[in-house]
């Protein structure tokens, strides 16, 4: 019995950040990296199932990313994941969420888990599509925004609830194996003490290449993606302006602005 948990090392912006010279991303120096908040919850959900199960359950965390993503995986190991897998190859740089999903699906095929959990979305890119795309590539049933889950390891089905608009809940049953994207608040993620994180440093992280997964380089990175970042920029702000002068002058200027705008719309 195995649960695969897809996690991501996300980037948060530091104060006074700068955009990279190529204008497509933030300068890496200004990013603070951490495990994606949603993934904290999906890992916890897997750990809860593992800890309440009467049969052995293996929790495997998988992350697509360069070496510094090991930090996210170590946190998962510190919280009790049994194994961690990191997939990387320079060709993966520039992948969109679908290309990433292709890699996760390849790992899922290799690991053959009974369940695959992913966060609803990542806090940095917010596509909210990786998990669902993985399900599609695997041709597994899937459900998004899961807020509670009842699942006995080894069972053929799982029952869960999802959030809908207007506070309505959907209670559903799904065939396993399935992909569930987990919503914040489904549980209370445990604290990974620094001691546990340090001890996790001694645990191995399995690093897989494209070759190991049998994925051709052309299917990842920009060449394997159907969407690309054109540019990243900070939108102009501060369109309000103070009108200076006497009451008459202010009124005249205001009237002029209204005419300009109204004229433009007409």
């Amino acid at each position: 019995m195995k649960i695969l948990v897809a996690v991501k090392q996300v980037a948060a912006l530091d104060e006074d950040f700068e955009i990279r010279a190529d204008g497509k991303d933030v300068e890496p120096d200004f990013l603070v990296r951490d495990l994606n908040e949603w993934d904290d919850f999906s890992l916890e959900e897997a750990m809860k199932i593992k800890e309440s199960a009467s049969t052995p359950v293996e929790v495997v965390a998988v992350c697509i990313g360069p070496d510094d993503a090991d930090e996210a995986l170590r946190k998962c190991l510190a919280k009790g994941a049994d194994r961690a897998i990191r997939v990387w190859d320079d060709a993966i740089e520039g992948s969109d969420s679908i290309a990433i999903a292709r890699l996760i699906a390849a790992v899922a095929t290799r690991e053959a888990p009974d369940m695959l959990f992913a966060g609803v979305q990542s806090s940095d890119h917010t596509f909210a599509s990786t998990g669902i795309a993985t399900a599609s590539l695997l041709d597994w049933p899937h459900a998004a925004v899961v807020t509670s889950l009842t699942y006995t390891p080894g069972a053929n089905t799982a029952v869960f609830r999802r959030e809908l608009e207007g506070g309505v809940l959907h209670e559903m049953q799904i065939e396993c194996p399935a992909v569930l994207t987990i919503q914040l608040g489904i549980n209370t993620p445990r604290y990974a003490s620094l001691r546990a994180i340090k001890q996790a440093a001694a645990k191995p992280i399995e690093v897989l290449t494209l070759e190991d997964l049998g994925v051709a380089p052309m299917h990842v990175g920009e060449s394997g993606s159907l969407s690309r970042v054109r540019r990243m920029y900070i939108p102009e702000k501060g369109r309000a302006q103070m009108i200076e002068g006497s009451v008459e002058e202010k009124a005249a200027r205001l009237a002029q602005i209204i005419k300009e705008r109204a004229g433009g719309a007409a």
């Binding site: 104060e15 604290y191 003490s193 620094l194 001691r195 546990a196 994180i197």
Partner: protein, 711 residues
């Protein structure tokens, strides 16, 4: 006076040989029970973890003897109880030596070597000394009875803040019965001793070598005179003596046999506890050995033998209970009850022949003898308990070691969890970017040196609150200006500084503490500076006392001593006399932890302030409530807070103008408490630095900048 060697005390006169034999059998049985009890207790302590107390045994022993003989710690903050205990102690010790002397003469030297010395003049002096010792003992015991029975002292009230009356281990009447049994047994032994002496005198009134020297036992003689005046015959005296002798003797032997099983054992455990005291118990918390798999204490056997001895040393005097800020505001914590709970737990689990399975040794929880997480998280690690304990019980490391286990399990307040993660990620508790650590310097008209780039004399370790809290930034800027004006060559670490870790360690997040301490030590190792200064007593404590164990030994001072030196050396101009009526709050980590009581007071004197001390000051200062990571945990809504309690204490000082603090967290806590206790407008809370700035002429740097046309 009859000077003859025949003067001595009769021991077994008129006893049948079988009675004497019976007495010896009972005596040896009592000693055997005593020895068995000692064995069980020692076996209990040996089930604790190993620890190296350090230092030479001889110096530890002499210091302990000094403390015991002077009763220094027993008399603190309760001189009357101290005096009474001193009477009991010296009375008991003299009587014990007296009894041992008889044994030496009668049972050892006599039978073995035929040597006898317990007679004649020596006996008479012996008799006098012991009579006085008995009076001392009885006097001390009577005071203690009055104290327990009639004074209704809150610290002797065993009501538990950490239990509900319905809990199985709420009831402490067993302890109360034991207290009284102890007092009554001792006083009965002493009193029957006098009566015995008196009836013996009456019985042997015809013998000149007895009756003639009766006034060498003044108390017994006076009683004998009274008995004879009341009509007691010699023969009646003899009969009473025969019976009372057995009562007195058996009671005394019972007392000896029960020592290891009752509170009487504090005679030994308190001495042992004092001998192995750690003078930096709260200031320098124990490291977790690298090879240790578990962090912190989960099982009773995870405590060291010294801590297990601590548990038994407690005499329930209640001084920690009285001093504890958490207890004072109704939080579910009394340091005394933590110790007593664990003691009950240790007695239950570790006194049997075999060690119970691990599951029964877990000290965490709500069961009898266990300690609840709410109790552990209520602690401010302010050290008030450790500081006042007369028998060197070290509560703070015990509590922190239990917290380490809670942290490992994630059993903590969500806000605390978040703060710890934030500190790990950003290196500060404010969740601000590292780059913003020195943002406060931007408002200054001069550039603060970057100690990472150039050598400085004084490295200023700023700390989180002084760096990021907007109110404290004003103080930080004022201190920078003071240093600049005084011509001190100083610099800061800018974004190279991380939270010093003092409070992280006291929360029990030892792993994160190690990361922070190692990171700061690594940063400091590469730099050139002569000494460190900080305005933050928390950073001061950990850098001073705990960094050395991680390889960082520095000369560090709190700003109060540096500032005082600058003022005394004339580097800071003579201040204007403020003439304010002020009171001073000793920060735990500056005062109690590091004995920095004088410098801030001396500065206040130089400022011409009239210092009115609060009742609780210096070593007995009352925590603001922020220590031990409590500043990162919300206080229960509607409950009283230590800072409120303190504000009420200050508010009764007539005409108080300024409540002076010298710690960033104090400023935050007390400014808030000033408002919430409705004292706003009556007096103000100020950092000492602000008072100094106020008393000085315009800053030279600031003036220079204002006059310069380019600025």
């Amino acid at each position: 006076m009859i000077q003859t060697d025949s003067i001595t005390r009769v021991l077994f006169e008129d006893f049948r040989p079988s009675a004497i034999r019976l007495f010896y059998v009972i005596g040896f049985a009592a000693i055997a029970v005593f020895c068995w009890g000692v064995y069980v207790q020692v076996r209990k302590y040996r089930r604790g973890a190993a620890t190296n107390a350090g230092g030479s045994v001889l110096s530890r022993f002499t210091e302990m003897v000094g403390t015991v003989l002077s009763h220094r710690t027993v008399a603190r903050r309760d001189p009357k109880a101290g005096a009474a205990h001193r009477l009991i102690f010296y009375g008991f010790v003299l009587l014990f030596i007296g009894t041992a002397t008889i044994t030496l003469d009668y049972d050892i030297l006599g039978p073995l070597f035929g040597v006898h010395f317990w007679h004649g003049e020596f006996y008479l002096w012996f008799s006098l000394v012991l009579d006085i010792a008995g009076v001392m003992l009885v006097g001390g015991l009577i005071y203690m009875m009055v104290r327990r029975g009639w004074m209704r002292l809150p610290k002797l009230d065993y009501a538990r803040p950490d239990r509900q009356p319905t809990d199985p281990d709420y009831d402490r009447s067993g302890y109360r019965r034991e207290d009284w049994a102890f007092l009554w047994t001792l006083i009965l032994i002493a009193f029957t001793g006098y009566v015995l002496e008196a009836v013996r005198l009456v019985w042997l009134a015809d013998r000149a070598d007895v009756w003639g020297v009766r006034w060498w036992s003044p108390a017994g003689a006076a009683m004998a005179e009274a008995m004879r005046a009341g009509g007691m015959s010699n023969a009646a005296g003899g009969i009473v003596r025969q019976n009372l002798w057995w009562f007195h003797g058996l009671l005394a032997l019972l007392f000896i046999a029960l020592i290891p099983f009752t509170k009487v054992k504090h005679i030994f455990t308190a001495a042992g506890s004092l001998m192995f005291r750690d003078p930096l118990a709260a200031q320098r918390l124990p490291r977790v050995p690298a090879e240790q798999k578990q962090a912190g204490a989960q099982y009773i056997t995870d405590f060291t033998w010294k801590q297990l001895l601590n548990l038994d040393a407690c005499t329930k005097c209640g001084r920690c209970h009285e001093a504890c800020p958490a207890r004072a505001v109704g939080a579910p914590l009394s340091p005394r009850d933590v110790i007593l709970s664990l003691r009950e737990f240790a007695n239950k689990t570790l006194e049997s022949g075999t060690l119970p399975p691990a599951a029964e040794l877990d000290v965490h929880g709500k069961g009898p003898g266990q300690v609840a997480m709410e109790t552990l998280w209520s602690c401010r690690t302010c050290m008030a308990c450790v500081e006042i304990c007369p028998v060197a019980v070290e509560h703070v490391p015990i509590i922190v070691q239990m917290r380490r286990k809670l942290v490992e399990e994630g059993e903590m307040d969500p806000q605390l969890k978040k703060t710890l993660q934030t500190i790990h990620k950003n290196g500060n508790s404010f969740g601000e970017s590292r780059r913003k650590r020195a943002a406060w310097t931007k408002a200054l008209p001069f550039k603060v040196k970057d100690a990472r780039k150039e050598p400085v004399d004084v490295l200023w370790f700023v700390g989180d609150y002084a760096s990021f809290d907007p109110r404290n930034q004003k103080v930080t800027q004022a201190f920078a200006t003071l240093l600049q004006d005084a011509g001190v060559d100083f610099g800061i670490l800018y974004e190279g500084e991380s939270n010093a870790g003092n409070d992280v360690r006291r929360v029990g997040e030892e792993g994160l503490y190690e990361v922070l301490a190692e990171s700061n030590i690594e940063t400091l190792a590469a730099l050139s500076f002569k000494s460190i200064v900080t305005t933050d007593p928390h950073s001061y404590n950990t850098i001073r006392n705990e960094y050395p164990e991680f390889g960082g030994t520095y000369e560090i001072q709190h700003y109060t001593t540096l500032l005082l030196k600058l003022m005394q050396d004339g580097k800071v101009p003579v201040p204007r006399q403020l003439g304010r009526r002020v009171t001073f709050h000793d920060p735990c980590h500056l005062g109690r932890f590091n004995k920095g009581y004088e410098a801030p007071r001396e500065i206040l004197r130089l400022l011409g302030c009239e210092l009115v001390e609060m009742g609780r000051c210096r070593a007995n200062s009352f925590c603001c409530g922020a220590g031990g990571g409590r500043i990162w945990m919300p206080d229960p809504v509607g409950a009283d807070k230590p800072a409120h309690n303190r504000m009420r204490e200050a508010a009764v000082i007539p005409g108080l103008e300024v409540y002076v603090v010298s710690c960033p967290k104090d400023l935050t806590m007390f400014e808030d408490a000033l408002k919430t206790t409705g004292n706003e407008g009556k007096f103000v809370v100020k950092e000492l630095i602000e008072l100094v700035r106020e008393a000085l002429p315009q800053s030279q740097v600031e003036t220079a900048v204002k006059m310069s046309p380019t600025a």
